[in-house]
Structures are given as structure tokens and as C-alpha cells.
Subunit: 353 residues, 2 copies
DNA sequence: CTGAAAGCGCTTACAG
DNA sequence: CTGAAAGCGCTTACAG
């Protein structure tokens, strides 16, 4: 061997393109037809016990991996689902996709993930790509998706499940958080603590979720005979910035609220900042409730009372609904998942109580 | 029409199983062979201009979608990449996968996503599934993956790119954050502010990233002739709980540090809590630096100075390296991505300076 | 420029 | 129980 001969070292980072072992390779060694191999590997009862065992042993020895692509072509099922999200980098989407993947995996499905970035061009490209891949179905978590997008998806002729979509539609099945019930619970919690001047800090974009959450707030007020005060309803943009500005208007009121129920945690974060900036304390002077239970809610100061969206579970339910659709069982047109009020330290009885 | 006849309403949620239009359907209408259709749709110069135009027009009219599965079988390329993460619900993985998907999409690749949950059984199942799907390559972001896992993946005989993996290996290409340089920068920042008693709050699990970050800390100290004090090095568990405990030990020192460089933001969060719990202020009494720039870092009180890992970019680089590998160009065995020191409000000059 | 043919790796009716 | 055959929807050498 030549000293320093670099060829003696195998370059593991480069890839040999040997083709994978196929059903034919096994057939040859087992002295049977490839049909028999196919049957044996599917545990078909049509194959003689011993032949089948021999075939399966060979498959293991040769480290055989059935080609899902060939199978898909033969069966016209890919056992894969497209998952469209606005952006997987968004923790919300990430949580939900975690559940989707778990359920898919458990049922032998694979997930083809695509970001739409709420960009119509990208959305078109994504749909086309999923169509070409012949995914068996798709779940869409793209809350800010255009209203036209769902019909576009529906043209794919595969089952669709929508997840917390702002435009639920007759074209598809859907899984959503039970906004009204959850926000009613959150508001009741404030009422039970003794609050009566409770503000609603909503989202100004007219999302269905805002409408529903506001509905729950109203309902809790009504059932407790707390008079509704329009001046206590303000709107942000769903982000901290908007929360700060809206909170500012609330603080400028002749009689500011003693508690604020926020559309979401991001908004609550802004409200919290604004309250502290004006020298007031949470929950000493003002109680604060969020919605979502983002990771961060646990680490704000004080930790935020909020409504948890069971993201993983919602994803799981969506994927399971899709699978049921694919396998012909009834799936439930519209599934509502209860939120969970997580009481931390941003809520307390009002001072004057 | 019978009143109340429910059949007149199309049930859009149910799916008709009409098979997609194929190359043959187009061929029939165009009065050519399917070979010609195939060529025309690939923009092959071998096809007569007008025939090609006619074919492409027909394809558009019929809303033709080439079957990627048939093409994959014919070409033995799927133009898809497996992406293995410990859990996509982890914001870190989510950020990175965002970049991976963007790069993939841009190059016409699809992403098959799989959670390993750091569970050996699941890891095996995931690898098997990706093998069966015949993905062209895989990128793995599974920092806490078992050391045995990468060799297992390598057996897949497809290119692998590792992303911030704790066990970079000769089996694969890798993309990692430049830990040493970034933590040297962070430490320098503290030194420049005037600190000399700077603690390192590390991770006790002996991750390579901890070793490297500690190395950067040492290097910054050395180059500034700040004496290294072993008592200022403590270890947490990478989470807030461990950060609190380790910070407690630091506070119990005869002369506590005036600044603490934490292994990551989660640890910093714990340290921050512990510092405030003892009535001290950040950065008034102690400056604090994290690592990662989690979403939350911007919203702590005070906002945390930290090192940003450009997650999206790292994902993009990993996917691009994989694609280069797939297309036979050199890809760079080991790519290091610089972190970025984000100076917020948790660092200031020491009191006595 | 075009078509007939073979092949990719499976599944599955059909005939024995 | 088994095999030969056809087919899934493409691609691509080969022959004209």
C-alpha cells in the first residue's frame, strides 16, 4: 500500500448509488416468483407457511425496504398527508404540527410539510406541489390565509381538515378551539375574584376568534349581571405593540378597569408592559388574563393567567379526523376542543374588594 | 325536484375518487404518443414547436398535474428530503425547519417531517419510514440524539446533514453555530463594560456546545488578562430550574460575580428569577447574558442581552448543503455559522466601575 | 421530430 | 398455494 494513499479511507460523506434490494432480488434467492414475495411480505394467508417464513427471513437478512413510491403507484395511495402552515417557525404552528406528526406516525402516515407564508403565490405553488406528490389529504393551519385559499385547496379533490382557521368553510372539516366557552371561563374567573370593571382588549382585524372570544366575555358579564360598558372594549393588533397602545387608552379612562381580558398572550404582554410603565402593578392594581398559553406565559413577571390551547391535541385530532376521512369513516364536520384556564399570578381580587 | 331533497346539495367534504388526468389523456386528445407529451411537458427541444404548444395548452386546460410518484419511480429520485427533529414543538427545531423548508421549496424539493422524540424505537421507525419513502437525503436536527443514531442513519446510504447536533460525526456533513466565537464576543462585551468578576453558568451534561461556549469565555478572559476563577464556574441543567440553583451558589460566594454569562436563555431565565428573588437587580447589581435569543428573550424584564442563533439561516444552509450533495457539487464538510450578539437591557457597567 | 418499447418496483385479478 | 400477466404513470434509450 502506498503510504498516504488516500483511497484506503472510505469517504462516508459521499454516497454510493447502489440500488436498493427489491422484491425481485428476494424472489431470486427464494426461488419463487416476485408475486409470492409480495404476498408473503404483506402477510397474506395465501402463502405457504414455510415459504413465507423463508421469504421474511431473507428480507430481514438483505435489509429489504419496500419502496413506498412503487407501492403508491400501484395502489394510488401514498399514505402521506400534506400539512400547510403559514410558517412553521411560528410556535403556534409548531405545537400543532407536533400533534399532527405524532398521530400520522402512529397510523403509518408521513407528513409533507409546507410553509405558505400567507403569500398567494407561495400558496398556489404549495398546493400544486402537494397535488403532484399525490398526498392522500391535507391539513391546513394557516389562520391568516386568504379567504380564497380554501376553495383552491378544495379543488385538489382530497379531504381537507382545517385547524383553527379564521375562515372555516363548507368545503372542509375543521378543528377549532372552543373560543366562546374558554373566554367565558376566563371572564367568570375575573368576576369570581370580585371584578366588575373588566375590559376586553381585542384584535382589530375582525377575526372570527376575536368575535367568539368577545362573545364569551359578554356572556359571562350577562350571566353575572355585570353591566356591559362599551368604553371598556378596545382593540390591539394581536401583538405587544398594539396591546400597549390599547392598554394606554384603558388607563386614560376616568375610571380604568380593575381587570383586563386580552385577546391573546402577545397582546397581554404589551398590556403588562404598559401597566408597569405607568407605575401600576399586576395583579395589585390590575388583573390580566391572556389567551393561548404561549411558552412565554409561564415566564412573564408575574406569570400570566391565560387560556391554554392544547395545541398538540388539536393537531392530533385534526390528523385523526383526516385519517378517518381517508378510511371512509365519519369524521365529524366541525370539532371544537375545549381550552383550559391556567391560573397563575397575574390575577387577584381587586383592591377595593 | 322534491322539496328538501338533500341530494341536490353537493357534499364538498366528501371526496370523489376520480383519477387524475395523466399523460395518456393528453396524448389521446393531442393525437400524439404519450412519449411526445412527456417530452413536451419537460420542454424538451426534441418536440416540434407547435405540437409542444398544443400539448402544453391542453395540459393547462385539463389542469394536469404530473405524478411525482410515477416520476420518482422512473427516475429513482424523489426530490424530497427527510427532516428529523427531536420535536417540532420545540421552538428551536421549529425555527430551523422553517429555513429548511424555505430552501427546499425554492429548489423544488419537498420535506418529509418526522419527530424522533429522542426515543430509540421511534428513531428506528423514523429511519425505516424515510428509507421506504426513498427520500433523496436527510437533515437531522436532534441535538439530544443518541450517539448511535448517526451511524444508523448513515446506513441509509443517502447524504446526511447534521444541524447543531451534539455528536457531529465523520459520517456526515454538519452545520453548527460558531459557539466559541459567539461566546467570546459575549464575554468580551461584559469585559468592555468593565466587569472582571464574570461567572460562567454552564450546562452539566457535557454537551459539546457547553464545552465550546466555555472555551470562548476562557479565551475572552485570557486575552483581556482577566484571571480565571474556578469558583465562578457553575452548572445548571439547561433549564430555568437548574439556572436558579446554580445562580444561588454564585450568590452565596464571599464575593459574588458582577456579571453572569449563561449557557442558554432558559438558564438565564432561571438566573434572572433567582437574582430578583434575592432583592438584587439586573443589570444594576448583576449583568446577565444568555445564548439562543429565544422569542422570549425580548420580553423578559429587563429584555435579555443574548447571542442570536440565526435559526432560519442555519436551516437554509443545511438544506442547501444537502442539495449540493445531491447534485454532486462539493458541499463543505463542516459549516460554522456566526452567532450575533444582541445587546438589550440586561447588561450594564458594574456599580463600582 | 416521433413513436414503440422497455423499465422503474410494487399489487392484484386471473388461471391454474 | 403459486406464477404469469397486466397495470399504476412516468422517463428515456432506440429506431426510424
Amino acid at each position: 500500500m502506498v503510504p498516504g494513499d488516500s483511497t484506503r479511507q472510505v469517504d462516508c460523506t459521499r454516497v454510493q448509488n447502489l440500488k436498493p434490494v427489491s422484491i425481485k432480488d428476494i424472489a431470486r434467492r427464494a426461488n419463487v416468483s416476485h408475486s409470492t414475495v409480495s404476498r408473503a411480505l404483506q402477510n397474506s394467508p395465501l402463502v405457504n407457511r414455510e415459504t413465507a417464513d423463508k421469504i421474511r427471513r431473507l428480507a430481514r437478512e438483505l435489509d429489504y425496504r419496500a419502496s413506498a413510491v412503487a407501492r403508491s403507484l400501484a395502489t394510488s395511495k401514498t399514505r402521506s398527508a400534506g400539512v400547510v402552515v403559514t410558517s412553521i417557525a411560528d410556535p403556534f404552528a409548531a405545537g400543532v404540527v407536533g400533534g399532527i406528526e405524532d398521530a400520522a406516525n402512529q397510523h403509518g402516515y408521513s407528513i409533507v410539510l409546507a410553509n405558505s407564508h400567507a403569500d398567494p403565490e407561495r400558496e398556489m405553488a404549495v398546493v400544486r406541489s402537494l397535488e403532484e406528490r399525490r398526498v392522500d389529504g391535507v391539513v391546513v393551519t394557516a389562520s391568516r390565509v386568504g379567504a380564497m385559499y380554501v376553495p383552491l385547496l378544495a379543488r385538489m379533490r382530497v379531504p381537507i381538515v382545517l385547524l383553527n382557521n379564521q375562515h372555516p368553510s363548507e368545503f372542509a372539516h375543521s378543528v377549532m378551539i372552543a373560543n366562546l366557552e374558554a373566554s367565558r371561563d376566563a371572564t367568570r374567573h375575573l368576576i369570581q375574584l370580585g371584578h366588575r370593571r373588566i375590559a376586553y382588549l381585542g384584535d382589530r382585524y375582525g377575526h372570527q376568534s376575536d368575535t367568539e372570544r368577545f362573545g364569551g366575555y359578554r356572556q359571562a358579564l350577562d350571566e353575572a349581571d355585570v353591566p356591559f360598558q362599551p368604553e371598556l372594549v378596545v382593540h390591539g393588533d394581536g401583538k405587544p405593540e398594539g396591546g400597549m397602545q390599547a392598554m394606554e387608552r384603558l388607563l386614560a379612562l376616568a375610571v380604568p378597569p380593575t381587570a383586563v381580558f386580552c385577546y391573546n398572550d402577545m397582546t397581554a404582554l404589551g398590556a403588562l408592559r404598559r401597566i408597569r410603565a405607568s407605575g401600576l402593578r399586576v395583579p395589585g392594581d390590575i388583573s390580566l388574563v391572556g389567551f393561548d398559553d404561549l411558552y412565554i406565559a409561564e415566564y412573564t413577571d408575574p406569570p400570566l393567567t391565560t387560556v391554554r390551547q392544547p395545541l398538540g391535541q388539536m393537531g392530533r385530532l385534526a390528523m385523526e379526523a383526516l385519517i378517518r376521512l381517508l378510511e371512509g369513516s365519519p369524521a365529524g364536520q366541525s370539532i371544537r376542543v375545549p381550552g383550559e384556564l391556567v391560573i397563575r399570578e397575574s390575577t387577584a381580587a381587586p383592591k377595593d374588594a
